[in-house]
Symmetry: C2
Subunit: 283 residues, 2 copies
């Protein structure tokens, strides 16, 4: 009799993959599946309350690979921008409390009615500058996540790994790093050299995997798939991340309505299996 | 009484903007609107028959800014690839016959069941290598069009201007150039320096404009808008293209179901007006 696949020891289940589960349920599902690490989100932590969330995580024995997410700080100077930076400061503290080594930053798109992409990018750099000291002191790396260029106008004006590293390098590696996410970056002809560059500067704060397939769904935010179900070749990317010295957990983070609508335990089992076959063998 | 806006002398109406019109109707609509140039597509030319199409274009007095399109040659060696290269050779001859200085190449995506992005990109380079001599002899530039990365898997494995120039530079500038299309490239942090690089090598074979807006429609191929209706800042891009020495026509090419479903004369009038306001003032 063949049992379920054993979870790879570096697999981290990002909570967004089973979006409708509570923190407590997420932790239990991970433990039951033999997964050793989770990527957490702020909203379910807030639902549980931070103090309880911290205890639940400690009791679970799981590692926390990252906290999602900060960012969204491209607004021009003013009340909205100050509120965003304050919220990010609180997120840094939360990441430290929950034991997450990295706070993932989705930096934000163009402000309403703005076409000033260069200005928005400068404001991202400046916001990170305001937060870097606090992050460093808290032992949390601000992990800049370049998003696919199809989100450049409404989610993230940072679209390439090179851009993210350009910003990160202006700060200590203990304070600011980058996320390598296969879904967002697989198409980039500069991806492998930029992974090498990020590794040389000890800037890889998180490696996230999921797959790309077409046609895209109506809501392009939900276009992600299990590793192996799309066109991404995980072998060279994973080899590059490994050669770049990254030894941390590897998150599976999938936004997909069909997956969200499936029973969570099945999704976790499929995550374990697909990660092992498409990514784990290259680690 | 104020009449309709006068068409900018460098505006070219790409036929795809009024997709359902015949070649004859397209030419008449352009002439009636005071437009001096058109970008043509192979299918309506084939419907008219090449000999008649050539005569219609000559009689119209319009310039032809480009012929769309060749490409789709990422298949592995074999019958399909040979057929694609033969079709591209015929497209070169057709461009020469119709008076188009450039044949626009949408290079093709990953072949079915393939994850070999690097291999597909090499086959693009090799296919262009097979066609460059014929293009040069015919006085037609093979214009490599980098497409937005959201089309990397199914339409074009060339996603950035840098990649397109990297290939073009392996051949004479009289044979191979690049297309700068705002919709595909606006997000690229390397866009302005790469436009300069393309200009220095006399590689800009076509400048196409339309706008980007979110949310994207269900079919992301139809996500384009009139210049000025989205988030693209046409001023710096157009200034860079001009500073790079490009003096050719500037095409408005919009794929948008709502625009296709509007009366063609209205679409042409809106094209004249929006181009003048958003792009023409920067030329």
């Amino acid at each position: 009799m063949t049992g379920p696949a054993a979870a790879h020891p570096r697999l981290s289940l990002n909570q967004a993959t089973i979006k409708y589960e509570s923190l407590e349920s997420t932790l239990r599902l991970a433990v039951d599946a033999g997964i050793a690490s989770v990527g957490l989100w702020r909203e379910p932590i807030a639902e549980a309350g931070l103090a309880l969330a911290v205890r639940l995580v400690e009791d679970s024995g799981l590692r926390v690979s990252s906290l999602c997410r900060g960012g969204f700080f491209t607004a021009a100077e003013g009340e909205e921008r100050r509120a965003a930076i304050d919220a990010n400061a609180r997120a840094v503290d939360e990441a430290a409390a929950i034991g997450a080594p990295a706070l993932v930053l989705v930096v934000g798109g163009l402000p309403p009615h703005s076409r000033d992409l260069a200005g928005a990018r400068e404001r991202v750099r400046d916001a990170i500058g305001e937060l870097a000291g606090r992050a460093d002191a808290a032992g949390v790396v601000l992990a800049i996540e370049p998003l696919h260029p199809m989100y450049a106008s409404d989610r993230a004006v940072i679209s390439t790994l090179a851009q993210a590293i350009d910003i990160a390098e202006q700060f200590p590696a203990s304070a600011v790093g980058v996320v390598v996410d296969t879904f967002h970056l697989w198409w980039d002809p500069e991806l492998l050299p930029q992974i090498r560059r990020a590794g040389a500067g000890r800037r890889i704060a998180s490696y996230q995997v999921c797959d790309w397939a077409t046609p895209l769904p109506e809501d392009v935010l939900l276009a992600r798939h299990y590793p192996g179900d799309g066109v991404i070749d995980f072998a060279p990317i994973t080899a590059a991340v490994t050669a770049a010295g990254y030894t941390g957990d590897v998150e599976v983070e999938i936004f997909n309505q069909g997956i969200w609508d499936s029973p969570a335990a099945e999704v976790v089992a499929r995550t374990v299996e697909s990660f092992g076959e498409a990514v784990g063998i290259h680690l």
